[in-house]
Amino acid sequence: MAKQPLPTIACVAEDRTEWFNRVFTLATSVRNLGGRTASAPLHALFVGSMDGLYEVPLASLGVVSSIVEPWPCTKPQANKLRMLESPEVGPGGVLVALDCDVVVLRDLTDGLSTSAIRATAAWESPMSPQRWHQLLDDVDLRPAPGPWTMIGTGEQVPVPYVNSGVLFIPAEMVDPLRESWAGYIKRLDGARPDRELVFLDQIALALALLDTGLPVEALGQEWNFHTKKDLETAAAPPPGPVHIAHYHRWVDQDGLPKPPRYAPLVPEIERLNAIIAARRGMAPNPSAAASLEAVVQRAAKMVQRGGRAVRR
C-alpha cells in the first residue's frame, strides 16, 4: 500500500474578529471532521498583528499561530503567498494552502498528491480566452497543452486558471511556485485594468503554473465547493461527497456557514454548525438565552423586594 502524503495545513488571516472566527471555524472543522487529516499540523498566519484574545482558543485546537508581514502588493490577496514561506513542510509532505472561509468536511488524504499541484478550476474566468492569449503574448508564455474548463460557466481558457482558495502543493514544489508566483504578482500589480486585477493572485498563479511547468492536476469541485452557487447553473456535473466547502461570505449573523443551496450538503453543514456552536460554547438555542434573561429579571425583583424589606 502506498504511503499517504502528510499534509500541513495553512491559512492567512487579518487581525480582525470576523477573520478569527473563520480561522476558528476552519480549525474546528479540520479537528472534528478531517479523518486522517484531523491531526495535521495547522498554521494560522495573521498579517501585521494578532489580538492576544485569539491565542488560547486557537492553541487549544492545536493551531500554531504566527504573525507575518503583509506581502508587498496593492491587493491583500497576495498575502496568501506567506503560506508558501512559513510552515515547514517535510519531505514527502504536501502543503494544503486554504482560504480562511472554507471548512473541511472529510478526510483530505485521498485528494493529495506528491507528484503534482492540485486545485479546482475557478467558477468563472475574469477574462475572455482572447484576453488570456493577449496576456500570454505580453508575458511571453505559451498556452497550456489543453484548455481548462471553468466549473460554473463552462468556458474554456488556455491557462490553468484555478481557484486559489484550496491548493495542494507537494513540498518540493512550494519554493519554485512561490518564487514564480511572487514574480508575476509584482509584474502585474498596477499594470493591468483594475477589473481584471480583482483576481490578481489567481491570474498570477495561472501564469506561474505555466511558466514553471510544474505539473498541475484539476480536482473536482467537491474539493472546493462553492456553497452559495446554485448547481442548476453549473456546467460541471454534481459532485460526489464534498470534502471542502467554500462559503465565502455566505454566513449567518453568528458567522456560521449558511445552509448551502446544494441540498445534499445541508445536513453536513448543519452538523458542522452544531459542532462549532458547541465548541464556541454558544447557547444551543434561543430559548436558553431567553430563560437566562428570565433569571436576571427574577434576581432583579428579589433585590428590589429585599431593599424594600430592609427599608421597612
Partner: protein
C-alpha cells in the same frame, strides 16, 4: 528599515506524543472513548494535532467506529490480555506502541477527558503518573511482596494523594501515564509478568505457600500493584504528575490539594460513576470545571446527532429549585470533606504538632 514583526505566537511543545486508550467493545465504553477523542481534538492543545489511537478489545464496529475515524482516531482491534483482570487489557497499548513509531505514549483510561495540553508535561527521561489515592498494601506487605518477587526496595518514598501517607514504592494511578518511547517495551514486558504473578498469588488458596497472603480487596487494583512492581523491577525513573493532570472531580480531592495546586487542569478522570444516565458527564463539584465538561458533552452530542439537555437550564422551575437547594447541599458536603481531610492535613503539616 521597519522592525520585523513576524514570529510564532504559540510554539508547540517540543515533545512528540501519541495519545491512546484501551476500551471494551461495548456501547457505553465506545461512548466514553468518543468523548475522550472529542476532548483531545478540541481542547488538547498540541495533542489535537498528534496521533490518537483507540484500542478495542475484540474490535469495534458500527457508527462509533466511523465517528472516531472522522476525529482522526486510529481504531485498533486487539485481543484481550490473557488474565482474568480486565484492567490488564491496557497493557495492549504499551505493547503496541513499543513496536511502533516514535513519541511519548500518553496512556489514558477511557473514562478521562482532556482539557489541556498534556504533552507539555512530558519528561523525556522519566515516566510520569499521579500518585495513587491510597496504597492497597501496607509498608510491611510491600516489603514482603517485593522480597518474594526478588525485587529490592526503592530508596525514594512516594506520598499517596488521598491519605497523605508516604509509601516505600511508586504506587501510581494508572489512568494517566506519560511514558517515553524508550521505556515502553521494558515496562510492558515487566508489567505483564507482574500482573500474572499477582493474579496467581491472589487466586492461590490460603496456606498454599505461593507467597504472602494478599488482601482480597486489593485484587481490584492488580494492574496498579503490578505497575508498581514493574517500575521497581525496571528502575524506570518516576516523576509524579500534578493533580490537575488526572483530576478526580470531588471535593475531597480539593480539600487535600488546595485549589491553587489543581490548576492548570489538563485531564479529568470522571470514572464511570461520573456519567449521567444518558451517557454524558455529570457536573463536577469543583464548579470551574463545568464549562469545559459541558463543552465536551455538547460536542459529543453534536457528533452523535442527538439532543443534549444541559446540566443547568436557568429559568426552568426544576433547576431553579435545585439551585436554591445547592448551597445547603454544598455546605453539608464541605463539612464531610473537611472532616475526612483534616487528619490528613494535620499529618502533612510541615510543623511539629506542638508548634501548631
Amino acid at each position: 528599515m521597519a522592525d520585523d514583526i513576524s514570529g510564532v505566537v504559540n510554539a508547540r511543545p517540543g515533545q512528540e506524543a501519541v495519545t491512546a486508550c484501551v476500551s471494551e467493545n461495548a456501547d457505553s465504553w465506545s461512548r466514553m472513548v468518543l468523548m475522550l477523542a472529542v476532548s483531545v481534538r478540541n481542547l488538547g492543545g498540541s495533542l489535537a494535532a498528534s496521533p490518537l489511537r483507540t484500542y478495542f478489545v475484540r474490535g469495534l464496529a458500527g457508527p462509533h467506529r466511523e465517528l472516531l475515524e472522522q476525529l482522526g482516531a486510529e481504531v485498533v482491534d486487539v485481543d484481550p490480555f490473557p488474565s482474568p483482570i480486565p484492567h490488564a487489557n491496557k497493557l495492549r497499548m504499551f505493547q503496541d506502541h513499543a513496536a511502533r513509531g516514535p513519541g511519548t505514549l500518553i496512556a489514558l483510561d477511557s473514562d478521562i477527558v482532556v482539557l489541556g495540553d498534556l504533552a507539555a508535561e512530558i519528561n523525556p527521561d522519566a515516566l510520569r503518573g499521579l500518585s495513587g489515592g491510597f496504597s492497597p498494601f501496607d509498608d510491611e506487605l510491600w516489603g514482603t511482596w517485593l522480597e518474594a518477587r526478588g525485587l529490592s526496595r526503592p530508596s525514594a518514598r512516594f506520598r499517596m494523594q488521598r491519605t497523605g501517607r508516604l509509601v516505600p514504592v511508586p504506587y501510581l494511578c494508572s489512568g494517566v501515564l506519560l511514558v517515553p518511547k524508550k521505556f515502553c517495551k521494558a515496562l510492558a514486558d515487566s508489567w505483564a509478568a507482574q500482573v500474572l504473578a499477582l493474579v496467581e498469588a491472589f487466586d492461590a488458596p490460603p496456606g498454599s505457600g505461593a507467597g504472602p497472603a494478599l488482601p482480597p480487596d486489593a485484587r481490584f487494583f492488580t494492574d496498579q500493584l503490578a505497575l508498581t512492581c514493574a517500575l521497581v523491577e525496571t528502575g524506570i525513573p518516576v516523576d509524579p504528575l500534578p493533580v490537575g493532570c488526572n483530576f478526580r472531580p470531588g471535593l475531597d480531592h480539593l480539600g487535600l490539594t488546595g485549589i491553587g495546586h489543581v490548576h492548570p487542569l489538563k485531564a479529568v478522570h470522571y470514572h464511570r460513576w461520573g456519567l449521567r444516565a444518558d451517557g454524558f458527564i455529570k457536573p463536577a463539584q469543583f464548579l470551574p470545571l463545568n464549562a469545559d465538561l459541558e463543552r465536551v458533552n455538547r460536542l459529543t452530542a453534536a457528533h452523535l446527532g442527538v439532543p443534549y439537555r444541559p446540566v443547568l437550564r436557568p429559568g426552568s422551575p426544576t433547576d431553579m429549585a435545585g439551585l436554591r437547594r445547592a448551597p445547603a447541599a454544598i455546605g453539608r458536603r464541605a463539612v464531610v470533606a473537611v472532616r475526612r481531610t483534616a487528619p490528613v492535613l494535620r499529618e502533612r503539616s510541615p510543623w511539629p504538632r506542638s508548634a501548631r
